[in-house]
């Protein structure tokens, strides 16, 4: 069942040496192994778990952006028939400072506890204050309405500039600014200041013929996954806790829940369900510890909790609003001489915005001799920022890539030519410091320049074309997996990386490639935390790299184990066995993998292997995007006419899902560019917590998204893989902004570039 013809919109560019090996399975497009269950509606997601005797949990949430909790009266709710348990922060143990690195950032477990259920203060509109479990969702909802919380409302701060100003309301009295291992004096909302610096900035700007300096402002945006957070938790009287949930990382849920409940980690078993989108938003726990408390307090009954869409927007982890200042100098012949950036990111109620990652993205595409990047992690009365696909990258690239477009315009140079002249290649240093191994930025630029899109006529007035490139560092991380050989020659693969976009297909393909068997003879399963070794989260674009490597390693171990069986069968030494093209042989003997599997009973018994690896070598991802827009000058509305995304995938295991990542990242980036934003009222309450008013793109808002996969194999991976999931969301906002400029002559410096904003700019320009 392999469709191996490429759709017409796709071009795969193989780059210069080292030549890509010939693959039999990798690069084809088999149907994903979990596909049928999903198209017939039988796949089970977070909210699809129903256990006998289940109770339904609901959360009481703060109506205020900032308030002190004077008292919580649960007596009326407790008296309601059908209510079985009520939990507040008083039921949570105190948690010490403990930094947990989640792969897309780090999180302090003390703050996680405070975020789970507010202790003394509520810090944002939607902050959880209490929770109820009852025999029906309706009774739980009624009980929530009966819980009385006495608040002393405090002044709130939403904008990072206000939060940094003298006299701003301070969220945490004990917070001090961290600055490379020391703490500054005095209460503040600035959790961290970081800096990258190289060369001599003043000299660099003095060498420049052109200097462009601009300030950018971007809004808070949400991942917008279609599946709301959902979990069912069963605590037993013996201390065992079983959690079914939709998550990007079962082991992360286990560790966070163990810390928050101060429970031994081994007493928690997490069974990951299918996951309905995450994009970084399902790396941390919200409901699971609450449901566990409720399960314990209700006499050990299963408790099911699912967020409403409004709760998802108000109380999970959107990504940071930001203020970014960029100054960039270049010579007339197109050489960057100096660059400076200041990034201020809203962390929300607790430290941990992706400002560090944004600082990494902002200049990492270019060779810059003199630079300084300052980042500030600033608390605001908003939900704690979570990770969102290339966290911090889209807003950073929006700033730097539009400034570069302006520099190109000022010196009269083609924007791709300028990027080729300054773009990083192997051996160059990143703006953040370390040296690059082989990377594919230049290949993406060259492929974009060759693409017919780049020179196609725009075909009408009020139209413009934009170019932008983007970087994402990617992650490798730890992965474990195991495999058993079935008598019919099929291999059962147990892995622990939740499959969020088709990774089971890639894992099956990697194992099939390694073993020389059909991809349909690999049966991958995502299993629970008691059934596979530790796995880092599905995040940081690491799964195909890290778990893919573990699966590749499993394949090698399977071949070794099978060779031993063949040796036993043929009564020779294992070293005498050769394995090639799926066949074990020795002298006149030859058995295919499948044939040998059928004879294991006489060859020394069943075969099972496992592996656990701290993988390395994550190869940075680069992309170059082209977009054509049309602007209605009377309404300020932008129509995306054509979009082409070019990206280096290292080696594309399953090209359809690589394209899918590229297309999905572009769609999210376009939403961020044009319409998506959190809207707050004067009191700091979120007023657009719905899909009606938080406007993610519909099918009618996008054209087909053409993709060009470039393959510059990652030298740090045995198959040349690099992560592809996050890079494609980095360039779109900048590319669209550049296209809008070329359509209208207006440089937009605020995201989203929504119709009222663009209209205002157009009218201001006309008058």
């Amino acid at each position: 069942m392999t469709t191996d013809t490429l759709p017409a919109d796709t071009e795969t560019v193989e780059t210069a040496a080292p030549a890509r090996p010939h693959y039999r399975v990798i690069g084809t497009r088999p149907v994903r192994p979990d596909g049928v269950e999903k198209v017939v509606g039988r796949a089970l997601y977070g909210a699809d778990i129903y256990l006998p005797g289940t109770l339904y949990g609901k959360v009481v949430r703060s109506p205020h952006a900032h308030a002190r909790i004077r008292a919580i009266d649960v007596s009326r709710a407790a008296a309601l028939p059908g209510v079985k348990a009520i939990a507040t922060a008083a039921d949570l143990p105190l948690v010490e400072d403990k930094i947990l690195v989640t792969g897309e950032g780090s999180v302090n477990q003390r703050y996680q506890s405070m975020n789970t259920l507010a202790r003394d203060k509520v810090l944002y509109h939607g902050h959880a204050v209490a929770a109820v479990a009852a025999v029906s969702p309706h009774i739980a909802e009624e009980a929530v309405a009966l819980i009385e919380v006495d608040y002393e409302v405090l002044p709130a701060v939403i904008d990072v500039r206000d939060a940094m100003a003298a006299g701003a309301p301070v969220l945490h009295d004990d917070l001090r600014t961290a600055e490379e291992g020391r703490k500054l004096d005095g209460p503040t909302n600035v959790a961290e200041h970081l800096r990258y610096q190289r060369g001599d900035l003043a000299r660099g700007f003095a060498e420049a013929d052109v200097i462009v300096e601009r300030e950018f402002v971007t809004a808070t945006v949400h991942q917008g996954y279609i599946e709301p957070h959902a979990t069912t938790v069963l605590a037993n009287a013996d201390g065992q806790i079983t959690i079914w949930c939709s998550t990007q990382g079962a082991f992360a849920v286990r560790e966070q829940t163990a810390d928050i409940l101060q429970t031994p980690i081994s007493r928690i078993r997490v069974i990951p369900t299918e996951i309905g989108g995450g994009f970084g938003g399902k790396l941390t726990v919200y409901l699971e510890p609450i449901a566990a408390l409720l399960s314990r307090k209700s006499g050990y009954r299963p408790v099911k909790m699912a967020m409403s869409r409004a709760e998802v927007f108000a109380a999970t982890g959107p990504t940071s609003a930001s203020v970014i200042r960029v100054k960039l100098g270049a010579t007339r012949d197109g050489r960057i001489t100096a660059a400076q950036a200041e990034l201020i990111y809203a962390a929300g109620a607790f430290p941990g915005s992706p400002v560090g990652a944004g600082a990494g993205v902002i200049f990492n595409c270019y060779r810059i001799p003199n630079l300084q990047i300052d980042g500030y992690d600033v608390l605001t009365n908003q939900p704690r920022a979570g990770a969102y696909r290339a966290p911090g990258g889209t807003n950073a690239a929006f700033a730097s890539e539009t400034v570069i477009d302006e520099v190109c315009e000022r010196i009269g140079m083609d924007p791709i030519e300028f990027r080729l002249r300054n773009g990083v290649r192997e051996g160059d240093y990143r703006a953040t410091g370390p040296v690059y191994a082989r990377i594919g930025l230049r290949e993406t630029l060259e492929a974009a320049r060759r693409h017919p899109h780049y020179t196609a006529p725009l075909g009408g007035p009020n139209r413009g074309r934009g170019v932008a490139s983007g970087y994402w560092g990617n992650w490798d991380g730890t992965s474990s997996a195991s495999a058993t050989v079935n008598p019919d020659g099929a291999v059962s693969l147990s892995e622990g990386s939740p499959d969020i976009g088709g990774s089971r297909a890639s894992m099956a393909m990697i194992l099939a490639e390694t073993l020389g068997i059909d991809v349909t003879d690999v049966h991958p399963r995502i299993v629970d935390t008691d059934s596979v070794g530790y796995n880092d989260v599905t995040g940081g674009s690491r799964t195909t790299h890290g778990t893919g490597w573990a699966v590749y390693d499993l394949g090698k171990k399977l071949i070794a184990a099978m060779s031993q069986r063949a040796a036993h069968l043929w009564e020779v030494e294992p070293e005498a066995i050769t394995f090639a093209d799926g066949v074990f042989s020795c002298g006149d003997h030859a058995l295919s993998f499948k044939e040998l599997a059928g004879r294991l009973g006489e060859a020394g018994g069943p075969v099972m292997v496992s592996t656990t690896m701290e993988t390395t070598g994550a190869g940075p991802g680069f992309a170059t995007h082209l977009v054509d827009v049309e602007v209605d000058p009377e309404t300020g509305k932008v129509t995306i006419l054509r979009y082409t995304a070019v990206q280096d995938a290292g080696t594309a295991i399953h090209p359809s899902y690589v394209e899918g990542q590229m297309q999905g990242g572009v769609a999210q980036g376009i939403g961020w560019a044009l319409n998506e934003e959190y809207v707050y009222d004067q009191a700091g309450r979120l007023v657009n917590a719905s899909y009606l008013d938080y406007r993610i793109p519909t099918a009618l808002d996008l054209p087909m998204i053409d993709t060009v996969i470039v393959e510059a194999p990652n030298p740090g991976h045995p198959l040349g893989v690099r992560g592809v999931g996050e890079t494609p969301i980095v360039p779109p906002a900048a590319a669209v902004a550049n296209a809008i400029y070329h359509a209208t002559g207006i440089r937009m410096t605020t995201l989203p570039m929504s119709p009222p904003r663009l209209l205002e700019a157009i009218l201001a320009k006309e008058s």
Partner: protein, 160 residues
């Protein structure tokens, strides 16, 4: 105190009888009472299409239908889309075109696409996009979904 309502309906061709609260949505009853969890909840206010079903052949959001309203009517859910060979051509096309990533929106899209092709067997790309605009997908950018629906239309034409 409200009183429970007895409802008789045809669901995926079978006669079904259930008791529900008068204020329960069809979505809640399908999932919580009847075990048909293929119909997904994405927003419960009619903005995402994940809960799409056919009510007397008409595409609706099951979150915006009260369960008592379906008394005497026919409901088709994702579980009722496939024919006897296990997959409807639209489902087949979604698989072949990699038109799903996380898959949570997929049942809603397939039910919606079925309603489209029942009414418009040869839609243009623009018609497909317009028809599917009430179904949100956050993973795919819609490209492969639109291609799958167009391909399914071709397949169904060939089979006719």
């Amino acid at each position: 105190m409200t009183s429970r309502v007895r409802v008789e309906a045809q669901i995926n061709g079978d006669p079904v009888e259930f008791l529900c609260e008068p204020y329960q949505s069809l979505l809640e009853v399908l999932r919580d009472v009847l075990g048909l969890t293929g119909t997904k909840e994405g927003c419960s206010n009619g903005n995402c299409g994940a809960c799409n079903v056919l009510l007397d052949g008409v595409l609706v959001n099951s979150c915006l239908v009260l369960a008592p309203e379906v008394h005497g009517h026919e409901v088709t859910t994702i579980e009722g889309i496939a024919g006897s060979d296990g997959l409807h051509p639209i489902q087949r096309a979604f698989l072949d075109h990699a038109a799903l990533q996380c898959g949570i929106c997929t049942p809603g899209f397939i039910v919606a696409a079925r309603a489209l092709l029942d009414r418009t067997p040869h839609p243009t790309e623009q018609q497909v996009r317009h028809w599917l605009a009430g179904n949100l997908c956050r993973c795919t950018g819609y490209d492969k979904i639109v291609r799958a629906v167009l391909a399914a239309a071709d397949t169904m034409e060939t089979a006719r």
